[in-house]
Structure formats: C-alpha cells, structure tokens
Amino acid sequence: MVCLIRESDINETMSSTTTTVEPITLISAVRPAEGPWLRAWRQFIRQRSAIIGLVIISLLAFTAIFAPLIAPYGPTDVLLGKVEGIKKRAAPCIHLFGCPADQPQHLMGVDGNFRDLFSRVIYGARLSLLIGFVTVTISVVIGVVLGAVAGFVGGWVDNIIMRVLDVVLAFPFLLLAIAIVSVLGPGLMNAMLGIAIVSIPAYARVIRASVLSAREEEYVLAARTIGLGPLGMLFGHILPNAISPLIVQATLGIGTAIIEVAALSFLGLGAQPPTPEWGSMLSAERNQVFTAPHLVFFPGLAIMLTVLGFNLLGDGLRDALDPRLKR
C-alpha cells in the first residue's frame, strides 16, 4: 500500500494524545518504517465506524464553537412579544418543508417558555462537550494517580486503594452519584464532580493493570539498573505504555459522562433551568411528552448522537491501538 500520510499530518492529528511522534526514517527504499502512532492512525482511518464517530464529533465541535452564528436566537431568549405569532410549545415549523411562510420558522419548535428549541439545542452542544471533557479529565487525573500508586508501590497501599475502589464499585453508579450530589448540593458543577468520582475506579484499574504488567518488563529493569528513580521510571517508561488503553477508556468515558450528567439533570440534580443543558431541557418538558413530543425528542436525540460519536471513536481507537487486533 502506498503511504499517503505525511509526518506533519500525523503531528497535527496526534499531538493532542502524545508528545513524541516517532520520526519517520527510511530503512528501506520501498516504504518508510512505521512508528506505532502512524500504524495506529492507519488502522484507525481504515474503519468506517471510527470515521463516522470522528465526523460526528467534529460537527459537534463545529456547532459548539460557532453556536452564536448557527442559532437564530439566544439560548435563553424568551420570544413572547418579540416574534409575531409565536405559540407556546408550538410544533416545529420549517418553511422549506411546507410550513406556511406567515408563521415564524422554528426548526425544532418552541418550548414551554417561548424559547426557540433549536437555538437551545445548538448552545447545548457547548455545555455537553464541556461536561464530557471536564468530567473525564477529573476522573482520569485522580484515577491515574491512584492506579499508578497502587500498581507501583504494591503491598498494603495497593490493597487499601483497591478495596476502597471496590466499595465504590459495589454501589450502583447513578445512585452513588445522586448521593454525592445531594451532599454537595444540586448544580452542574457538582453533578460533574459526582459522576467524575464514581468513574474513578475504571481508570484506576486500567492504569494499575498496565503498571503491574510493565513493572516486570525487561526495559523497566534496564532503566532501573542505570539508576533511574521511581518517578522517572513511572513517567518515562511505565505510563507511556499504559497510555493507549487509557485513551480508549477515556474516549468511551466521555460518552458515558455526558449521558450520566444528563441523567442527573433529568432528575433535577444537575444543570438548573434556564441553562440550555440537554438533560434538563428534556426534564422540564417531560410531562408534555404526549402533547409536545418534539420538546423531548430533539434534546434526547442530541444526547444520543453525541454519545454515539464518542462511542464509535472509542471503539475505533481500541481497534487501532490494540496491537493484538492487528489484521
């Protein structure tokens, strides 16, 4: 196969996930040797589902960045008296699809407070991406530290950390998050924190497992014999080897985090009205599902597509980064 990717391409796409890109050196006249990241990228773009995931996420990011340009109204603008002929909980009206031109156009209809649902859903993309990334970052940071310490130090430290994490796992995910948010008080920040805390064990376990297997490797032994300290070993040799399962886990985790924070908002514990958060938008209109189903349908669809995007991306990354699955 002809290699169509330049090094600069790889740098661009991969720089967010790694700091070192294997320099491409010519070892034969036919084709350049492949670094692990290049190989992973090739595997990745070969999969249709991964590409679809990437496209969904890119569209979402685009929507989030340019929300003010895409949305016809502000997310919290009450349009009563501002737009002529607006009706409470009006069904979607799209001129292109035969909605009379004398009625105001609302792609996803109007909500119970005379706000344009489409604008709210568009602005919701900002919040959801933020929620996903912040939540996962918090739990990854804590999880990596706990997992690395447990795996690296071992002994009773390992035992205590893992038993505490077992206790966290013995609770149903959402119920523990509900309890934590009750302690901290309802609100979007606390909902994210609650979900982040509950997700820690997954990351800690991934890292611990990688650390345990890497600890016995010869290259780590070699590093130790040349006098490398434990921290240098951990960050220089062990963690880089644990990075690919972590990336996969984190990507899938973003989808889960978005869904779970939305669930908390749905229960009234997360984002509070009038914040344009998809879960709380759905919750506000859930008793109207029989009379105005579009107000429930569109925010939920937005959640589903976002989560689908991250899930496809995560699966694609897993297939690309796991050398055992090489075709």
Binding site: S49, R163, V164, D166, V167, L169, A170, F171, P172, F173, L174, L175, I178, A179, I180, S182, V183, G185, G255, I259, A262, A263, F266, L267, G279, L282, R286, V289, F290, P293, V296, F297, P299, G300, L301, I303, M304, L305, V307, L308, N311, L312, D315
Partner: protein
Amino acid sequence: MLRYTIRRLIVAVPVLFGVMVVTFFLVRMIPGDPCTAQLGEKATEAICAKFNADKGLDKPIPVQFGIYIRDVLQGDLGTSIRFNRPVTQLVAERLPVTLELGFFALLLACAVGVPLGIIAALRRNSAVDVATMVGSNIGVSMPVFWLGLMLAYIFALLLKDTPFQLPPSGRLTAGVTSVPFYVVWGWEVDLKSGLGQVLQFFANMYLFNSLITFQWEVFWDALRHLILPAMALGTIPMAIIARMTRSSMLEVLGRDYVRTARAKGLADVVVTIRHALRNALLPVVTIIGLQLGTIFSGAVLTETIFNLAGVGRILYDAISTRDYPIIQGFTLTIAFSYVMVNLLVDLSYGLLDPRIRY
C-alpha cells in the same frame, strides 16, 4: 466449590462493611436534617428535639453507628423515619418490583441479544450483521430516560386503539388486583414475622404470583405494564450482549475443534449450539452479570418515568427526605445482591466449562 464459595463470601464482608460505612456517613453529610425535611415549617427546636430522641438521632454519631451495625447483624435494617415502618418490610415491598423489572429487562436483553449476536457472527458482513452492529452502537448510546419517554409516547399515544397499545405507567390497571398466593391458598400468615415478609416478598412479584395461582387476567395485565419499562431498561444491556456474543462467537467459530466437528459431518445446528455457543457463552455470562449495575442505575430513571414504586424510586425519594434508615438499608441490600450475583456468575462458569474447577 464449597470452599471457593465460602472464601468469596468472606472476601465480600469487608466490601459490605465499607458500603455500610460509606452510606452511613455519606447520608449524614447531606445538608439538612430529617426533622426539617419531614416536618417542614412545623419543625421548631422543641419538636425536633423530641423527634430526634424518638428516632435515636440525638445520640452521638459513633454510638448511632454502633447501634446500626448491631442491628444489621441481627437482621434489622432499622425503621423508616418517613413511613414509620421497618425497612425490611419496605424492602419486601419494593425490591420485588425492581427485581421483576430488572429480571424481565435482562430476559428481554438476552432473548434478543444472544440470537442476534449468533446470527451476526454466522453471517458475518451480511445485512443482518451490519444492522445488528449499527443497532447495538445506537442502543448503547441511548439515554434510558429519553428512550423511556419516547416508548411511552409511541406505544401509549401513537398506537392507541391498536393491539399494540401498552400502558405507560403503574404496575396494574386500576381495578385489577393481584391476590397474594398465601391468601389464595388460605394460609394463616403473620405478615409482621420474618416468614410473612419473605412470603410478601414473593407475592409482590406480580408475574410470579399470578402465574402460580393461575390469575391469568392479572398476569396478562402485569406483563403488559412491564413491557415498556423493560424495553427501556433492557436496551443498553441488549446492545452490549449482542455485541459480546458476536465477537465471542466469531472467535470460537475459528477454532480447530469447530472445524473438526464440521469435518466429522455434524449438522450445522449442532456445531453452532453444542460446540461453538457453549464455549462462546462464557464471556457473555460475565457481561450479563456486570449489567446488574446498569439495571439498578437505570431503574431509578425507569421507575421515575413509568411511575413504579421500586427500589430506585424509594432511594431517590429517601435521599431528598433524609430518610437515613431507608438509604442505608436499601443500599446494603443492593450491594449484597451485587456480591451474590457476581458470585453466581463466577460459579456458573463451572457449569459452562467443566475444565473450570473451584
């Protein structure tokens, strides 16, 4: 096997103790006290002092914790502050609702997910395979609360007056009652006793109760009420099970012994079921066990949407009313069932794969 079981149960003790510690202190960290939460504006200092003394909430926290541990060891989960009834009684009343829902949801998930996974693996890259994989990707991405509401809209409103119309809330239609089997059979039972609560527990599983007492009308009604919540709750596990079955089957179908079985002329069905499926089921069973968490978490949302008085609902309400004994008792019950199901899953490996011995 017995030794293995005992060892697992012993290992579970510290985890359950940890659950007790975490819940006990976590609920007491929730701002606001039970008295204000229960009595609202009537809660003056004098009334609350009496209220707390009645419920034993005036004692120092460590003493309360000691009493809690002592009671649990004696099988007493305390008395609900809000309902003024023993928590064990409430567990006997509410847990069956969630168990029935969860069991039915998992049954649905397996009944659809496993065959789909098998067919997808057998007809790799066919339309069925692609549809299954696309469907399962969408399925795992679906928010339970959204799916539930949409299902309610479709089956209760859009399909109204068709044979597919399904009720969107409650467990039984008004007017239909499920007569407990011990009443049908004329048993004299003291419902406050331990045995009475166990009997109530089973009688509160309406499907089971109406099935063994031949109350077909009740059975049909309860089943119809269960379908929508079970579909909402079962979709994510279904998607995960289908995917797992497919990949596990694909791996097994490539093995030498499957080729040997085919080579010696066994029918395709026999090879698929007896040789491939049985070996492929091992990881699937693990995944099914792990879905219990999804089920209990999803139950909070499903029970909210479909108006079911189950474990998820009572726990959610208890957190907002600061009903400490209910939160503690139900969380412990859930954690305990977690441990038990995971143990059963591990033991079932031995049945599926005779090479595994404990």
